[in-house]
Symmetry: D2
Subunit: 460 residues, 4 copies
């Protein structure tokens, strides 16, 4: 038996390759599928089944790509009217893969048709071994319930799926969910990647609640819905087009880049501290952030042009964009920002602040402060002087940003803050700072934080 | 938390890297330690502890190498008088690694001082999460008990360790043993790499036995003791010398190779079907087999010279030799066997047989048949006409080989058979065949097999 | 300025990438074009021109592939009616690439439209710097003249092109031809890769001849015309189809391979000494030989199935086939010959002989000897007992092979001999040997050789 | 024959690997020698000779390292009293390497004992083929003559060596010098990498001068002598110690880095535009610049600590330092500057200016301008308001920097300017700017430049 967890950074997405003898199954493949066919080839196995645990909303499912090159059968839950795929899975269906067997459980709640695939050895058919729980049960958390019907009803359904289907599999079953820490598909997922039903029962806070408490907690969770989710949902219901891989992205000299990018969107993938000088009008999304944040910002129609710290970063950025259905990437500035400045082309600036400098400036009233973290993060504590607009909404709420003073952007570490800064600059605000290290540095230096009820938590 | 299982092929050895925050621990490191320092560096962590689950006998422990470059503390059980290391571990000792904690259990049986390291999250100190069971509990098997005292006593001690220490950790605990399928450290280890205490309780045949049955089964197990075990045991008790990595192995032209190798041992690492023509006097050990079989054959004093299918294979072969304490590798035939034949140098031959040809020749009485598999394999069924001498003992029992007819060597797949053939040729036997595909092919073609009680199992 | 020679092994083909500033040219690109676009991208340059020195006959030109992804202009000589391309080049045309300039010379002889591209720095327009001589002037040799009109006329034309166009460029000009040692496009090309016009004048034997002597020597040269040349010539005149890269080649288990390959051609790419046991009916072409010899043997219509020494060799083999227009590669035996023998499937054998054994067998009259080298090689000296049929013609002249005795195949090193052996086996001859090391080993051991006039050269 | 030019970036150093059959020679190896042994191994050759064209002064010669692992003989000119090596080479000595032969010419001028090694094929002993000219004749330039005796005498000697020894080899000889464009060992070396004696005679400006003119030109050349040259000269005369490769460089968390680096020197290898925020007290030397500029700045005794844009850059930086004898590299900030800012540690700033902003500020008199290019570059034209101090002397001449206004640093592209800015900050100057794109951008935007005689060259 070969078992591989394939992690897609940024999306914090897990897919799985399981094989036995010459047969294999892949669970929730991502769109750039080379990694699955490579593992299969290295082990001389054929992929027989592609299992989708549910209609995903945060990335383009790779099932159609993978089927196109392997002929594997696509399986998804019967509870949704998918326009593609081969097998409509219902409770209790079984699928043989070499000496292994998958058995399906209907576990709605996150979506109406969610399936948990339970793995058995055929030699021990009464003992479930692993459970691929999709977005039903995460390690330390559970799936979000705000995407298909009213949260109260959906949350109750999810509770029932977990309590009546997953947990009864038994303490010894290894839990393999579709997302890890950092995913937008569930709040507070643990950074631990290994777990069992028993260990989740012991430590997952959601599993200690009554149905009523569980529903109340889920209803109260303030989760953001990225702009691009609707498109992913449609894609993944109708079947994404087969493209044969990520698009090419042309190397461009500075003249060509300058001329063409003026009609599109420029994304600069450097780190916040490298974005002090940059091309005017660009967005700043750090490389790993390209896995998710373009989905908040970028229209899938407009052509995208990339500025990267290293030329090779382009491949990674293009792959990330491809995974979330953004294929209209036209070119990149070959040689990077250096090529731009050596032409003498215009440069725009964002100031960089340490938290010490921020504290001094706030004390003097020299700067306004904008916290662009999510609602959940904001509620855990924030700087007293800050105003809060989530970075994903900043562009549409730009009118709420106070413009009388220079303004500093802040998030948890500075990455999203710099995206915020770039959005502010694009809106025409002249004097903008990014707070390097942001809340992480602020708290490391023991500066005061208030929680949502305006009680000071600690201070100097 | 970062968790990585590092598999060493051939030895079927598992080591583990676990980190949290900036701290890491490594469990049972192998001797070529770059893989651990690479993971640590990529994740900006420092290795704090090196845990040895027990005094290993099948490879040279990498603790001293790893300590030399990281300064980590070496921990092993107090039950043996180790001549190196930093911490003598006893029942209940705890070790913090970031937000994690390891707690030790004394679990003798395989060796007197075996320790099981149990992993907890500090936030959930009552719930064990993973258990690093060393050679105590394997997936689908248990450790061998023939290496330190009488088998009966040792087996009982092992039973008690498993039943009273490991299983009580609870069904939900993930089991991480020191070996996987194919190891000589336990019979019949499963090829599944994931398990839990609960799943082992349900499926591991050893865990369903009474103490008496368990001891009886263990006592009856006919396990081979490779020649090199004694040396490994001494090495691992006294602390292996720090060498800074595998030895260099000089590329040699055919003249130089011919001249120098005559004073040493030649090992040809090609597959059995590629060994039809070869350098006279060479041993044939297929590349992955280099991880283990040189330990049966090769004196650690004699210089070793390699003939490989590709020049790059040399690095892999040298690494395997290094892991089992064979460092006296002097050179390899650069360009491979082609260089040899183009010089017109002497060639020796081994015949290659399909199982169909073997059947015909056996039918006519034209060939003798030597089965070089282990006792356990032989006992599961063999070809009626075969004589049995385990390949590891063939050199010392060469006098028992009948010489009146040409002789064909056979094992499970042909690999060890070819090693056997090369040993027969070295002993001066003229007409030697290797049965390609061996028992696997024989059974795929439905030829008859007898079991140890001489009952036919099936036939054409 | 960036200058890279791209060597394609087996074909002994040289292509060149030259850039200056942001512009580049490629000369005689091969069909798998990633290497050119990679160099261009790494250096932030755009490929502006694709220069074909002539209509090639030994591989598929990559111009159309390269144009498809770069938009570069394809340039070839006006002397042929090409059905594709952008610029018909005539004497004296100039092409600017950054600070460099190419100027064309019409240099017919090898083909009617051959062009030599001469490189200048624009800052020194009177001093030619390099000459890309295509198949006109090689290092130590000149192009073949048997492919487009009568050899006598063509040879005279070639002589004039060299003497009146190339040599007058001056001693200091660096010579960059389209082929190196081992190419079928010219006899006796030097293994030295660097030369100048002056050094060729001093050392190239063809350049010391009068026109009459030159023509006589060329006319007398017995060159083989591989079967696939005609197809390449048509391809390269009409413009090869754009495929976007080499075909995929599916990994197959032994059952599938056995079933499907029975309808196609099996090529086993292992070395001669590894081909002792193999699948019946397969051709044996060593990996590097795949660059050329399938063009002699394989119909481009029949599906091809591969058996390789390592799975990764498949990519190399498929690339080689693609370069010579063989795209109908369907699959490979994943895991190699081992998988086959473990199924117990049929095995066919070829015997392997050292030259010592050959000498003994010849002495006893136990074996016939077949020399499958080219006419030129045969004429330089051969074994007295040998019969000569060039390997490229063996299949069509199989009736000439004497069948009364076992037969041994021989070439220069054993590689083509093993191809010959596989052809003999396919024809139903039962007892076939490959002479390992072949003439190289024979001469290293000082066995006697006769030259074409039957004079003994040397002997024991 | 195998010929490989190995380029060492930054130093613009060329070494060469030449082999024939199983023998090879290396010319002027660099200190990290893996590349030579790798090529040798891939081609199954043994390195027989190490030829030093002269006692180098700009890097540590790799001869002793290479000899230690290959046993090759080190050859250098008899004109210096080397304390290591095997063969003292004098005029006309010959060295056989397979079918090739090297013959030595004594060509003093750059150093007293410079040797040119001329390559012949043994089959054509009257026709030199290539010349390894060391620092005697470069492509488009000649060696510097200011390092061993009065420039006038040395320049005359160099002229004689070139005219009487190198040029008489003949136009057709390929020239292979020890340095390419960008080297400090000769002014104005061409970026073209291929040349011949004939082409140099036609285009190299130095070769068109009379002896008198040549000497006058050489005497007038204002060349900088990096601080570290003296140490290299001693090293390369006495024989550098064998270290077995570049030093390890420990990954450090921010706390450890902060604590330890305070006792040493911090070098930040990011690009100028990424250095806007950085650790106070660090030097900024862009990654490729690490090949040379630490030799101007860094004492070889003080421990060095690195901040890099990517963790993998550390290996490259350490290799560069090793090549110029700086081995005291202790550690790097693992995870880069992000780790520092997330701790909230102190940040220092350098402003970044476009040339447009610079022009505006100069116009208003708001900023002082410091040009840190070399004398030769300065003399070709500069900005009127600029003051000139070469970056290599800036630290020692810091008192000359005007401090009444903010100060902007400028060089050719911004890289050395940023090193200058970091030196200014270290000296306590508060407000410092780096001009991005520097003179290259300034001239691309057609801003006015004055030449050394204060004549305006062109303007808006």
């Amino acid at each position: 038996m070969i078992f591989e967890r394939i992690k897609s950074e940024g999306l914090a997405h897990n897919s799985y390759f399981i094989s036995s003898g010459n047969e294999a199954a892949v669970i929730d493949p991502r769109r750039d599928i080379d990694i699955y066919t490579d593992i299969a080839r290295r082990n001389c196995t054929s992929i027989k089944y592609i299992f989708e645990t549910h209609r995903n909303e945060d990335y383009v499912i790779g099932s159609t790509e993978l089927k196109a090159v392997t002929g594997a059968a696509i399986c998804h839950g019967k509870g949704l009217d998918f326009k593609y795929g081969d097998i409509s899975v219902k409770e209790g269906d079984t699928f043989e893969v070499g000496s292994l067997m998958f058995r399906s459980l209907e576990t709605p709640g996150h979506t109406p048709e969610s399936i948990t695939y339970v793995l058995y050895e055929k030699s021990a058919p009464n003992y479930p071994f692993m459970a691929f729980t999709g977005d039903v049960l995460f390690i330390g958390s559970v799936g979000r319930t705000d995407l298909w019907k009213d949260k109260e009803t959906a949350s109750g359904i999810l509770y029932d799926s977990i309590m009546n289907k997953v947990l009864p599999l038994g303490d010894s079953v290894i839990v393999c969910p579709a997302h890890g820490a950092g995913s937008v598909c569930g709040p507070g997922i643990s950074s631990r990647e290994q777990s069992t039903v028993g260990y989740e029962k012991a430590t997952n806070p959601y599993l200690k609640l009554s149905r009523e408490e569980f529903v109340a907690k889920k209803v109260a969770e303030p989760l953001d819905v990225p702009y691009y989710f609707k498109r992913m949902e449609a894609y993944n219901k109708d079947g994404p087009p087969v493209t044969g891989g990520p698009p090419a992205c042309a190397p461009m000299g500075p003249e060509e880049f300058k001329s063409l990018s003026s009609e599109g969107i420029i994304i600069d993938t450097r780190m916040p501290h490298d974005y002090a000088a940059h091309i005017a009008g660009s967005y700043n999304i750090w490389l790993k952030g390209m896995a998710l944040f373009p989905g908040w910002i970028v229209d899938h129609v407009k052509p995208i042009y990339l500025v990267t710290g290293r030329d090779d970063d382009v491949f990674e950025a293009v792959k990330y964009l491809y995974r979330i259905g953004l294929e209209n990437v036209k070119g990149y500035l070959c040689g990077g920002f250096t090529e731009w400045v050596e032409k003498g082309y215009d440069i725009e600036y964002v100031g960089l602040l340490s938290v010490d400098s921020l504290a001094v400036m706030l004390g003097k009233g020299d700067v306004g402060l904008l916290d662009v973290r999510s609602d959940i993060e904001w509620n855990t504590g924030h700087i007293r002087e800050a105003r809060h607009i989530f970075v994903g909404e900043l562009e549409s709420r730009i009118g709420e940003v106070p413009k009388e003073k220079p303004i500093a952007c802040l998030c948890s570490t500075g990455r999203r803050a710099s995206l915020g800064s770039s959005i502010l600059k694009r809106s025409g605000i002249g004097s903008v700072y990014t707070v390097l290290g942001s809340m992480k540095a602020w708290m490391n230096k023991d500066y005061p934080v208030v929680n949502e009820k305006l009680m000071e938590r600690k201070g100097k």
